[in-house]
Amino acid sequence: MAEEVELNPKQKKEIAKWFLLNSPAGEIQYVAKDLRLVLNDNEVYDEAVSESFPIYNKSHMICLQMPAGAGDVLVTSFGELGENEYLDPRTAQVAIVDHVKQVCTEVRPATDEELSSAYVEEFRSALDVEILKYAGEAYPKGVCSVYCTKGKEVEGPGFNFELVVVISACRLSPQNFCNGSWRSVWTIEFQDEAQVLEVKGKLQVGAHYFEEGNVQLDAKHECGDSTLFQSPDDSAISISNILRHHETEYLASLEDLRRKLPVTRTLFPWHNTSQFSLTREITKELGIGK
């Protein structure tokens, strides 16, 4: 059912964006290269690329190095201050990034308005310390960050605020023809009146094997928990224990899903024709096997 009509630029762009956005973790540059050849239309290609890369980068929460050893910054919607500006709360810096090249071009200090209030910052930084410890053990290739997504101006008790923990890890091994990624996003609502923390997690694992073909794994999981609203340090420990518990449990459950392929039994007796005739007769008799 191939269409005889030539596609218009808008249609070509939508198709191009589809390919880019569906690239596996860490592979968008390779996809872009192939796409450029297939598309054979640089104007459409450039537009598609400039529109897709920011979306891809944020959804995959890519990690970029800030210049002059200033550390790493995660590109996420939670830290987005402007089209190309991303906050790194840990170092109170704002990274300016080039989405298409996937690099951080410069860094500037964050303004007070861009950062959380001192009160919220106590909770945020205590949690950041715990998550750094956890992620450091659990994800050797992982990068993490804690953002304040609601109530960053809250000055003291009496109001709610919300923190988000992001852990992003990517293992690229193109020479072994396989790439893998982990993303977890935990939203923690600090409910002042109920004195409770509502924790919601979204975990996503991905893998791509392309040695003899193309096999991809895509698994998502959502979970929730809650704990008491305590001091910044105690809350941080509570939260990181919840994360650790749920993430470990999820990974264990993934491994359980291995045993679904057809079972290998004793080898089939191809040479034994008499066995066939017999089986055939039995099969007909019992009416098995359509």
């Binding site: 269409e3 390919f19 073909g213 420990i237 089986t279």
Partner: protein, 258 residues
């Protein structure tokens, strides 16, 4: 074309139909190449005369009709269509019967078909296909929905070598799809395709069917093992390298006192 195949190797397999039609619309001049090189899920038709389903592929197609291996008739009917010669048809019939039993033993269900035709060099080509569709185990249990599909295409070129020996070149393609949907908490999807080749020179004393069958069985076993060890194993390795299991981590006692 190379770039197009590169894209197909990277797009999520569960969207391969969309990816293929996108490429077809971008590269209409390459449509026959694309269609022949990109693996697509197997489709079936029902042969009313024999009461059985049969699998469709390029090897039983003539114009827009497909030949059933059971009745040897084209659906929809076609005049002046191509048929395998009588001797080959006999082998084809036996292959279908035997392969159906093999398929049942390994897959406990599903559909199989075998098609044969002469090639130009005194030999012939046989195509063995299996379609095992998702085993949906959702009846009554709303919590888990599981689907597992396995489509296999084995094409064997058979050529006579010296006396009593034939060369068999097998190209196998397996497309698999495994998805689990935990209603409340998330989804798991592992899908894709692998292709591998195997060549063997074998004595024809036990017949072609025996040789071809053994090769296919060996190949399927190897692909299954690869999938299990390499792919599932690599997931574990990937996930573990991303994230070592907790047994390995020394954790301080929980100090929350909750």
């Amino acid at each position: 074309m190379e770039a197009a195949m590169g894209l197909m190797r990277r797009m999520p397999p569960k969207h391969s139909e969309t990816a293929l039609s996108a490429l077809l619309s971008l590269l209409p001049d390459h449509s026959s190449d694309l269609l022949s090189q990109v693996d697509q899920p197997l489709q079936v038709l029902f042969d009313e005369e024999s009461g059985k389903e049969f699998i469709l592929c390029e090897y039983n197609r003539d114009a827009d009709s497909y030949r059933s291996p059971w009745s040897n008739k084209y659906h929809p009917p076609l005049e002046d269509a191509l048929y395998p010669p009588a001797e080959l048809r006999k082998l084809e019939i036996e292959a279908n019967e035997v392969f159906a039993i093999y398929r049942d033993q390994y897959y406990e269900g599903g559909i199989s078909s075998v098609y044969m035709w002469e090639d130009d060099n005194e030999g012939f080509v046989a195509c063995f296909l299996i379609k095992k569709d998702g085993s949906k185990t959702a009846q009554g249990r709303r919590r888990h929905l599981e689907e597992g599909a396995w489509d296999a295409i084995h094409v064997i070129e058979v050529a006579p070598e010296e006396e009593g020996i034939a060369r068999y070149c097998l190209t196998s393609t397996v497309m698999l799809s495994l998805t689990t949907d935990h209603e409340s908490s998330g989804t798991f999807s592992l899908s894709g395709s692998i292709r591998r080749q195997m060549n063997m020179d074998l004595s024809v004393s036990e017949g072609h069917l025996c040789n071809m069958g053994k090769m296919i069985e060996e190949m399927e076993g190897k692909l299954r093992n690869s999938l299990d060890q390499v792919y599932f194993g690599k997931t574990k390795e990937m996930v573990c390298t991303l994230r070592p299991p907790s047994e390995v981590i020394m954790r301080l006692p929980d100090s929350t006192g909750l």
